[in-house]
Symmetry: C2
Subunit: 515 residues, 2 copies
């Protein structure tokens, strides 16, 4: 078999089942190899940011990698922003990036670029295939890297001649190591801090510590120590809802986050590092934990969060039943003009059991997150790396990974525009995604940030750079143009009816919420 | 003044007048500085590929740089593909890329990335500001680099604290060197080849050799020697039409290009290098010029093409009047079902004098290019780097640079989807762009390429990765959703009426041509 076939078959042997693809000429042998490999699904995205964001969503929900198919350095470039987000999420992703044939590179044809150089800033691992046989080996190595707990970004550059040359063969899947366990000393330090420090204490949770099983252990620790449970502002995958252990969310703005943490005398970090301000601001601190508090880094993102929390709960002699179990809650939704409050209340009320929420709602969505705390159980996925344009592609990937679960994309307008092409893939694959497009006609967050960095009295030119109203974007038209049925709503009653309708059906829908 | 103000004022002193922007929080001081600088126009793009592609189009038409405003490494990543194209075009572009404050970087906040590492593969020059005063100096240096003949990509990374710190000042514009002249020896070699070699000869033209003034000199050389004039397949800016010196176009596919060049015994290259195959294919050559022919590289892209051609014409004692002056031509347009032939004929017939065509028409547009050869005079801009998604942003930039000229975007559907957000900027700025969207529901070129790389009998999965029909994209809906009035046409008569209507009016329009 040729190198492309050996590569794809190796990935298949590893358990990779999905390829999110945007191929070009230099990837035609890879296209043919996918074509010939039963059990390897090919899903076309009409822009590479859709492809990489979908791989992130798939990885978060499947806990194993999809493979992307990208066209040389520029195609990979288009996918970098969502690879950045995926990397920050600790998602498993394998990229296969076609490149010119090795002997063709030095001719400097128009599409020639330093593909490995483009890959490096947003990859954990980059490997250029050295031959048609090495290509399959690179695939197996990429799988092992991608599956490093909880997940990494592994990029293989595939010269076209390695893909088309005969004489290769699939290689056996690698043995995957278990997640790194935290040392007993770290658990003992955490136990000591929670037992011995006077005053308010918390567990600060991120990464895999926000999965249901880990949260049960965190809840046991809370029961034993009275510690509060707080989580990072942007979570990869937060399993929540009525009956699960509830976690407070650190506020976004640095000064609010600092004030939120100020009273804690001990903080134990699990699955994440001590939080820092998202951006720097003149005269404001970057590091947010209170000076003088005992800060115990019990488990990093790359260490076994469940094991660490279980070990800590047992060390503390915690009871088997967790504290802080979330009761079902309901919020009244005021009729009339739609706003983020009644939208959030209605969403929480109608949220389907076991659904997945892809949240890139920015300023319009905070109420929805808070109000869904006591809704039906769900997974809440967020923008982990701050590179906007993630929400719709993430929903695509989550829906591919979990075809039996309803996916709700809670999407702001400004960020939605970056990767609007995701709607077409939802239509093509008839993915069960309901997109709630929050149209406020503005990069609203930037109007706030302009003030926060100290800009007084911005003029019309500055404000025009933050405004999406001239002209107004009609998302319903864009959506139907790409094959996703859409409605526009501007009252709570209309939103409730449209959401109920969308959730009762299977397949993609878009509800444009005019806020 | 603060560093941002000094930087923007320095660019203004250099003559930079336009900023294509997609800012975020870390760029708010730059936004404020632009706001306060009269004569610096800010144009918002809703995706960074629009921003960088517009800067390319502006640079090609204005022969001076616009500045882009991009948000950290991921925002720059989104703009890389069109920077690749701009670099291949030899366009002048300055990028200003915001980054975290220097002291904030080591905290590894979510949006932290290696911005300079992202910039390097698609920039000719990358510079990280070292202080608030150095930032202005970096601006002046970037301008000098961007204006290196014919143009380069200069990227400045702007840490937020350098932007907001007071105590800086604008610096004086640099003195720009004249374009590098070719050595007399190169001209003598070219003259000798054209005089002494027996058999067919040609000038092979690219870069600035395709401007009207240089073509007059090429036409003089043709008159003196009988040499044919051939140009590169994808030209940055080709000035053509009735009354101008006509140039033949090298075919795209390698084997056709090789056959096209096979009979030449001498080829003189001006403004470009000997052509190579766009992609490699198994068993097909990369280098396309005939073995045994005399190949004279008289002027590279970076050497003065006009000076070289004038010198060669004078050396040859060429007559003052050029040969190969294009006569007006007209092609009959068959009525009925719209296809690329009658579309091209109608476009050629109605093409407005002195218009600009942004051509990313791929398989559907070849007839239009050929048929416009003898149409009213125009500038034809092409996809120089092969990274698709350039056409609509390029039209934005050309229209900003030349507000008194009609711009026609001849845009294929697959590539148009990458940067469809450009339509919104056309609407916001009321740019005089008529987009002809060629909807054939396919990555048609890839169906051809799949065969050419040797894939026999592709299965449904392979074909699905090249197909845009399921679902069909309704570009008219997408366009009106972004504020650009649109019509769909499927016959020659409808197309003629829609085009005449669009050309008679000012402002953005989209004609969706169903092929």
């Amino acid at each position: 078999m040729n190198g492309a076939e050996a590569f794809i078959q190796t990935l298949k042997l590893c358990g990779v089942e999905v390829c999110f693809a945007n191929p070009g000429t230099s990837e035609m042998q890879l296209v043919a190899a996918i074509d010939q490999t039963p059990g390897m699904r090919a899903i076309l995205g009409l822009f590479e940011g859709v492809v990489t964001g979908a791989a992130d969503g798939y990885g978060r929900m499947a806990d194993k990698p999809a493979v992307t198919l990208l066209h040389l350095g520029p195609g990979l470039g288009n996918g970098l922003a969502n690879l950045h987000n995926a990397r920050r999420a600790g998602s498993p992703v394998i990229n296969m990036v076609g490149d010119h044939a090795t002997y063709h590179l030095h001719y400097n044809a128009p599409l020639t670029s330093d593909a490995a150089g483009v890959a490096r800033p947003m990859s954990d691992w980059v490997r250029v295939s050295q031959s048609e046989r090495d290509l399959a080996q690179a695939g197996a190595e990429a799988f092992a890297v991608a599956q490093s707990y909880p997940g990494k970004i592994a990029t293989v550059i595939v010269p076209a001649d390695h893909a088309w040359t005969e004489g290769s063969a699939a290689v056996a899947p690698p043995t995957l190591p278990a997640p790194a366990q935290v040392p007993a000393e770290a658990i003992a330090q955490a136990a000591a801090a929670l037992r011995e420090v006077d005053g308010p204490k918390c567990l600060f949770l991120g990464g895999r510590a926000l999965r249901e099983d880990a949260l049960v252990q965190a809840g046991r620790i809370a029961a034993a120590t009275g510690a509060r449970l707080v989580c990072e502002t942007f979570a990869t995958r937060h399993q929540r809802g009525a009956g699960r252990v509830a976690v407070e969310k650190l506020p976004y703005f640095g000064e609010m986050a600092e004030a939120y943490l100020a009273d804690f005398k001990a903080i134990v970090f699990v699955g994440t590092e001590p939080p820092v301000s998202f951006f720097a601001y003149p005269g404001k601190p970057s590091f947010l934990s209170p000076p003088g508090a005992a800060l115990v880094r019990m488990a990093s993102l790359r260490e076994d969060a469940l094991g660490a929390l279980t070990g800590l709960a047992d060390t503390l002699g915690a009871p088997p039943e967790p504290a802080l179990v979330q009761a079902p809650t309901r919020f009244p939704a005021e009729d009339g003009r739609l706003n983020s409050a009644n939208l959030g209340a209605i969403l929480a009320e109608l949220l389907p059991e076991n659904c997945i929420v892809s949240d890139e709602s920015a300023t319009s969505g905070g109420a929805a997150f808070a109000m869904c705390a006591g809704a039906a159980q769900h997974d809440w996925l967020q923008l982990t790396g701050g590179a906007i344009g993630q929400g719709l592609p993430l929903a695509v990937g989550a829906a591919v990974a979990c075809p039996d679960r309803k996916v709700i994309a809670l999407q702001a307008d400004g960020s939605g525009m970056y990767t609007n092409q995701a709607l077409w893939t939802m239509a093509r694959e008839q993915l069960d995604v309901t997109t709630i497009l929050l149209n406020n006609g503005s990069y609203a967050i930037l109007n706030i940030e302009l003030m926060r960095v100290g800009v007084q009295n911005p003029g019309p030119k500055a404000l025009s750079m933050l405004d999406l109203k001239h002209p107004e974007i009609n998302w319903a038209e864009i959506s139907t143009g790409m094959g996703v049925p859409a409605v526009r709503v501007s009252t709570a009653e209309e939103f409730r009816a449209a959401l109920a309708d969308a959730l009762a059906a299977k397949g993609p829908r878009l509800i444009e919420a005019l806020l």
